[in-house]
Amino acid sequence: MLKLAGIEKAYKTPGGTVPVLHGLSLEIEAGGLCAIVGPSGSGKSTLLNIIGLLDRPDSGQVFLDGETADFANAAEAARLRNRLIGFVFQSFQLLPRLTAWENVALPLLYRNVPRAERRPRALAMLERVGLADRAEHRPNQLSGGQSQRVALARALVSDPRLLLADEPTGNLDSVTAGEVLTLLRSLSQDFGVTIVIVTHDRDLATACGRRIEIRDGRIIADTRGH
């Protein structure tokens, strides 16, 4: 499903070059939840950005669903993201101006899905995350848990193969975080989508079928099972 080979990444700062990822290689099979854990500065966010084709490795390759990511072509990377990847962020990133269903439908806009078709698909997705009755609400009328569920619906509305979540429970209380986790699991099963989560949340990481621990840009542990 997802394969990284020899990923190198360093950031240039005024004080010199700071290496972040050291020849990191990784393979994640289709389906299930995989957590990437590690302390701040370990490089896990950079790794997630590279998997999500938002950042460009200095060297190494990313294979997504059998395709080699072409980082040199921004438009091509955008299309690949749109087709294969759904994103969930810590701060939800809902557009305040749009209603819940319009936020959910946004990825379909970039896939040339006609408006008449976008709405029913977005509504179906909202229903799946239990927010059918909030379709016409705007983000400021939604609680944190509801916002993250809308974001999940948005991430999944375009039938991606891979869902990338960056601290998805970071802004939520523990009860709500538990609900989101339960939802992530059932969505993974229903849609057969692979979910990769970057998290500090112990409970969330433990709940994942696989945990990859990163420190100083290297994988130091890779455990499976609950």
Partner: protein
């Protein structure tokens, strides 16, 4: 069932989104548009005033047409006067002349009913009234039979000064320089022409034959020449000067063509001033649009990051902001066009012209400012498309 990979946002969707974005920003966008509004208003006002002025100009030639030359003799050491036979022969001696009517004019004080009025005496053959398309509101016009009779037709305004009810003057006598003339007709109120032969409303028309009684000379001092439609006006003009000139008379000609040229030159000056105001305002307006868009993009960094993450290509982002800029400016253009029309209506009212709208020129407002929007929106749009999505998503 994987959907066939079709990408690219349809244009209708881009416009719909741009509209929603602009609406949510409301009056802040509006304020920045002031420059565009003023610029467009100046240009639309200019175009519409020009249009109305054109119509007004044409109106002044409506009655007599543009194929008229007026010849005026001015004194050259002695009272001026043209040889009547020369005038009668003009259609035969100068090619392109269709008819030539001699006449004389003089400002004279008229008395009746113990009242006085300064009238513009015009002595002309009977055919003149037909050639000037004059019509009576009561009584009759002069005829050939009047020949040397002391009769006259009075203008509506001059008549009103001599008698509270103008029509009461019919059959009454008016004293002109010691001679009594019987009023046989009253002219209908008539606007002056561009080639102004006389101020018709102040006129008193009398037969030319015995004009000597009230005018300095029996000889006509002016000629109304009508030319063929395709005639070379300038050639006829100089030919007239040459033919009619004599020792006591300087020949001065006025033709419709030169009047129109002068009018257009004046209009051109007004247009240049308004165009300069419009151009500068549009430039300022364009910078205003650029400013709004840059601010807009700063505030929507997270949105840009998100859109990039979910699949917007740099070009999609660029197009989104470009369309917003164009629509923003075009909205200003529409407002400016309306304002411009109001301004032109005011100016037109000031000149006592009849208002008209040059509908065919109105699209220039929104279209022109739309182009300004695209030009000045280009830089913000391109810089938006270059924003790094990772940093943008982190923005607060």
């Amino acid at each position: 069932m994987p959907r066939p990979p079709a990408y690219g946002v349809p244009f209708g969707e881009i416009v719909r989104e741009a509209f929603a974005n602009l609406r949510s920003r409301g009056q802040r966008s509006g304020l920045a548009l002031l420059g565009i509004v003023i610029g467009t208003a100046a240009i639309i006002a200019m175009l519409n005033i020009g249009h109305v002025a054109q119509l007004e100009t044409m109106k002044q030639f409506e009655r007599l047409g543009v194929d008229i030359i007026q010849v005026l003799g001015s004194p050259n050491g002695a009272p001026p006067g043209f040889e009547p036979a020369l005038i009668d022969n003009l259609p035969r001696t100068i090619p392109g002349i269709v008819e030539a009517t001699p006449y004389s004019t003089e400002q004279v004080t008229a008395r009746a009913n113990g009242k006085e009025a300064s009238v513009f005496v015009m002595a002309a053959p009977a055919v003149m009234t037909a050639r000037l398309a004059l019509a009576p509101q009561s009584g009759r016009l002069l005829t050939d039979i009047d020949d040397c009779a002391q009769v006259g037709v009075i203008g509506a305004k001059a008549g009103a000064e001599l008698s509270p009810r103008v029509d009461d003057l019919l059959g009454r006598q008016i004293a002109l320089s010691g001679y009594l003339f019987t009023v046989v007709g009253v002219l209908r109120p008539t606007p002056n022409d561009a080639v102004s032969v006389a101020r018709y409303d102040d006129a008193f028309l009398i037969p030319l034959a015995c004009a000597r009684r009230v005018l300095p000379s029996n000889l006509p001092t002016a000629v109304l020449v009508r030319t063929a439609a395709d005639a070379d006006i300038d050639a006829i003009d100089s030919e007239l000067q040459r033919t009619l000139a004599n020792k006591t008379t300087l020949v001065q000609t006025t033709n419709a063509k030169s009047i129109i040229t002068t009018m257009n030159r004046q209009k051109g000056l007004l247009a240049a001033v308004l165009a300069a105001i419009g151009g500068i305002s549009l430039l300022v307006g364009g910078i205003g649009v650029m400013n709004v868009m840059l601010m807009n993009i700063m505030e929507r960094r997270r949105e840009i990051g998100l859109r990039a993450a979910i699949g917007a290509t740099p070009r999609d982002i660029q197009t989104m902001f470009l369309v917003e800029a164009a629509m923003l400016a075009a909205a200003g253009g529409i407002a400016g066009a309306i304002l411009g029309l109001l301004i032109s209506a005011l100016v037109v009212k000031l000149f006592h012209w009849d208002f008209a709208v040059a509908y065919h020129l109105m699209p220039i407002g929104p279209l022109g400012s739309g182009v300004i929007g695209v030009l000045f929106g280009l830089y913000p749009a391109v810089s938006a498309s270059r924003i790094d999505p990772i940093e943008a998503l982190r923005a607060e």
